[in-house]
Symmetry: C2
Subunit: 176 residues, 2 copies
């Protein structure tokens, strides 16, 4: 997809396409539409990250609270967003043993009770054993450090989702 | 519903209940969960309004862009949120004459082209003739004034949605 095509979109078209780049936060795509024209996809991504960074601490916590648990209730009930579903499948979270499932559930609950937001990790850049390892390590961190870590993971997830959009809508070269 | 019950909710329960108090912006309910305990429902509402006011101009524009057109594509396709559907029905927007429908569509488009966000009005506090009247008047305003007007309407809509939640979950007195 050409950035010129993105720049010519109405805000409705833009939110339809980029509204879930940050999970369940179409407000963010709606906000950065004001920053058009973007010079590149990287410029668009930078606008999203700058907007996130500009939010007060509660706003960043609000973003994290819009994310689903890994292998949690939305995965069980089939109500994950298409993007989250793909990410959790790729990380192997739909093929956990009963023991792994129990451990993840237990540590997710401990993490949320301690920190007041879910454990967030870019699942596609990880796998189930690394996720469990990171969760048990990061749960030791103080809240502000985990807020920072969680938001950095949101940005990684956003980066991969933008790449998907870019590639999916790429104009394929026609045969000569 | 007692405010104590609200204060004892997990962030998931809180977002399930209040996540659409501002249309398609669960980030906001997620953010103000950090402000618990609330002393009253009014205190909760004030926290939402303060959060909205704390956003940069682009963030406020982002909120407006998450709202559907009145009698627009989502109403036609049946994809409005339950809350928006109720509001548009109550304002008589499902029983427009062909002429009214055309006029609303035309002025909505003009408004969006001029201002870059949709015309927002608390439909339940209005009716179809007043909506058309306000739309044709407000389209004359400069962008910053309409951003302010739109956000004030978002707050009125939010106020009514919170009232609905409060009343729907009110504990009814048992018979003696």
């Amino acid at each position: 997809m050409d950035i010129k095509a993105v720049n010519s979109m109405s805000y409705e078209e833009f939110i339809d396409l980029f509204g879930n780049a940050v999970e369940k936060c179409p407000l963010i795509a709606g906000a950065i539409w004001s920053k058009r024209p973007f010079t590149t996809f990287v410029d668009l991504e930078t606008s999203i990250f700058e907007f996130i960074d500009s939010l007060p601490q509660t706003g960043k916590e609000g973003i994290l609270r819009c994310l689903p648990d890994l292998a949690g209730r939305e995965l069980q009930s089939g109500t994950l967003s298409a993007e989250s579903q793909k990410e959790q499948v790729q990380a192997g979270l739909t093929s956990l043993s009963h023991e792994e499932q129990e451990k993840l559930h237990q540590f997710n609950s401990l993490y949320k009770n301690k920190l007041g937001f879910p454990f967030v990790i870019a699942a596609r850049m990880s796998d189930k054993s690394k996720i469990l390892q990171d969760l048990t390590a990061r749960i030791q961190n103080p809240p502000l450090q985990e807020l920072y870590n969680g938001i950095e993971e949101v940005k990684k997830i956003c980066h991969l989702r933008l790449q998907d959009i870019h590639c999916k809508h790429a104009v394929r070269p026609t045969n000569p």
